[in-house]
Symmetry: C2
Subunit: 256 residues, 2 copies
C-alpha cells in the first residue's frame, strides 16, 4: 500500500498552476504552499484558497511540489527546492531523463489549454503521469485520479508526441481562426458569422474523423477558386493558404 | 408588396441540396420538384419529402429553382432550366455578374458545412442573399428568413471574402485536426484524448478572440521545443509546422 500525497505546494501560478490550485481546492484537496516569481500573485491566490505564500523556494516543505513554470525554468526551480520534497512538473515537452534530479521527480501533464477567467472541467481532461520511481508514479496517478477520469502513465517520448499533436490541435487551429478573424476585420464583416461553421467543423471532425470531413476548393482541386482566393491574400497568410491547399490536394490526390 | 415564392425546385442533391430540401420540408415549406444527375438519388429524396423527381432540367416549372451544384456546373445547369423559372445558386465563390443570365438570377448562400447524416440547426446558419433585381432579392431574403434568423444581403465581392474566411475556418482547421489524427495513428495514442482540448480551443477563441488565445512554443518563440518538434515531422506536415510557427512568431514578435 502506497501512502497518498498529504500536502501539496504549487510553484508557478500562471494559467496552469492557478487553475490546478483552484481545482484541488474546489475538491477539498488543500494546497498548503504556493510560490510565484511575482509575490503579489502568490499572496492573492494564497488568500483565496487558504494557503501560505512563500517568498523563497527553499521554504517549501510539502510532500509534493507541482511546478508549472516555463520549460526553460524547470531545471533552475528544481535546484532551489529542498531535496526532501517530491517534485512533479506539468510540461509536455521536457523529458524526465534530461533533468539532473534522478529521484523523487515526476510528470503531471494535463492535456488542456488553460487560461485566466475560463474554468475547465478537469474531469474530462487527460492527465499523463510519469516518474523515475514506481511508487511516486502511483502517488501522482492517485492524485490525478481525484480530479480527472482520464489518467494514464505515459513515458517522455510518447508525451512529446502527444504534445506535438496538441500543437496542431490547439496552437495551429487557433492560428487559422486568427487569420479568418483578420479577414473579417479587413473586409468588415462580423466574425461571429463564422462561429456556427467553426463549431460544426470540429463536431463533424470528432464524429466522422477529419479525413472524411474534408470539403472545399482544395479537396475538389478546384483551380479557379484556389487562384481567385490566393489573389485576395498576401504575406504569411497567402503562403499558409498555398501550402495547406497543396497538402490537402496531395492528401486526396490518389482518391480523385 | 412583393409576392412570396410559392413553389420551389432543388437541383443538385449533394450535401447542401439535400439538407436544404429536408429543412424546408421540416418547416412545412413544400419542395415541388427535385433533380439530380444520378436519378435514383432524386427519386429517393422525392419519396421522402413528397416531391416530383424530374429526369430533365427542362421539366422544371416552379417559381424558384435552387441549384446546389459544383461551381463549374452552375452555368451549364442554368442554360437547361426554362427562362421563366427564377434561379438561385448556393455557391460562395461564383460572382453573380460572371454568369450569362442577367435576369431572375440570385444567390442563396448558407455559411455552413453540410454533410450527409449530420442534421444542422439552420436557424443559426447565416444566409447571404444577392440578386440582379431588388424584388427577387427580397423574395429570397423572405424565404431564407423562414429557415434562419441570420439572413443578410451581401454582394458577390463581399461573399467571396466571407467564403475565403470560411476556407480557413472549415477546410484548414479540419486539415490541422487531420494531421493531429495522423500523429495519433502513427504514434498509437487514442485521438479522442485530443477532443477536450479541441473543443476548449475553439470556445476560447470564440470567447476571447484568437489573437489573445494563442499559446504554445511558437507564441513563446521557444526554439528548443520548436526544433525538437520539427524533427518528429516530415513532408508537408513538417512544412506546415514550420510555416505556421513562423507566422505565429511574426504575429507576436512586436509584442515580445
Amino acid at each position: 500500500m502506497i501512502s497518498p500525497i498529504q500536502t501539496i505546494a504549487i510553484v508557478g501560478l500562471g494559467n496552469v498552476g492557478s487553475q490546478l490550485a483552484k481545482a484541488f481546492d474546489n475538491l477539498a484537496i488543500p494546497i498548503q504552499q504556493v510560490y510565484n516569481r511575482n509575490h503579489s500573485i502568490a499572496e492573492a491566490l494564497a488568500n483565496e484558497i487558504n494557503a501560505q505564500a512563500v517568498t523563497s523556494l527553499s521554504e517549501i516543505k510539502t510532500d509534493l511540489c507541482i511546478i508549472a513554470v516555463a520549460d526553460d525554468a524547470i531545471e533552475t526551480v528544481i535546484h532551489q527546492i529542498p531535496k526532501s520534497v517530491k517534485i512533479a512538473y506539468t510540461s509536455g515537452g521536457v523529458k524526465l531523463q534530461d533533468l539532473e534530479r534522478k529521484e523523487n521527480i515526476g510528470v503531471f501533464y494535463p492535456l488542456q489549454s488553460f487560461s485566466k477567467g475560463r474554468t475547465i472541467n478537469l474531469f474530462e481532461v487527460p492527465f499523463f503521469i510519469e516518474a523515475t520511481d514506481i511508487d511516486f508514479a502511483q502517488q501522482l496517478f492517485d492524485l490525478a485520479w481525484k480530479i480527472s477520469r482520464k489518467v494514464q502513465f505515459v513515458d517522455s517520448e510518447q508525451r512529446r508526441k502527444i504534445h506535438l499533436a496538441a500543437v496542431f490541435i490547439n496552437n495551429f487551429v487557433n492560428h487559422q481562426i486568427y487569420i479568418a478573424e483578420k479577414l473579417a476585420n479587413t473586409y468588415k464583416f462580423d466574425k461571429a458569422l463564422l462561429y456556427p461553421l467553426l463549431r460544426e467543423t470540429i463536431e463533424k471532425a470528432i464524429e466522422n474523423g477529419a479525413y472524411d470531413s474534408q470539403t472545399g476548393p482544395a479537396k475538389r482541386n478546384d483551380k479557379s477558386v484556389i487562384e481567385a482566393q490566393t489573389n485576395l491574400l498576401s504575406g504569411n497568410d497567402k503562403a499558409i493558404y498555398e501550402l495547406i491547399t497543396k497538402s490537402i490536394i496531395e492528401t486526396y490526390h490518389d482518391k480523385l
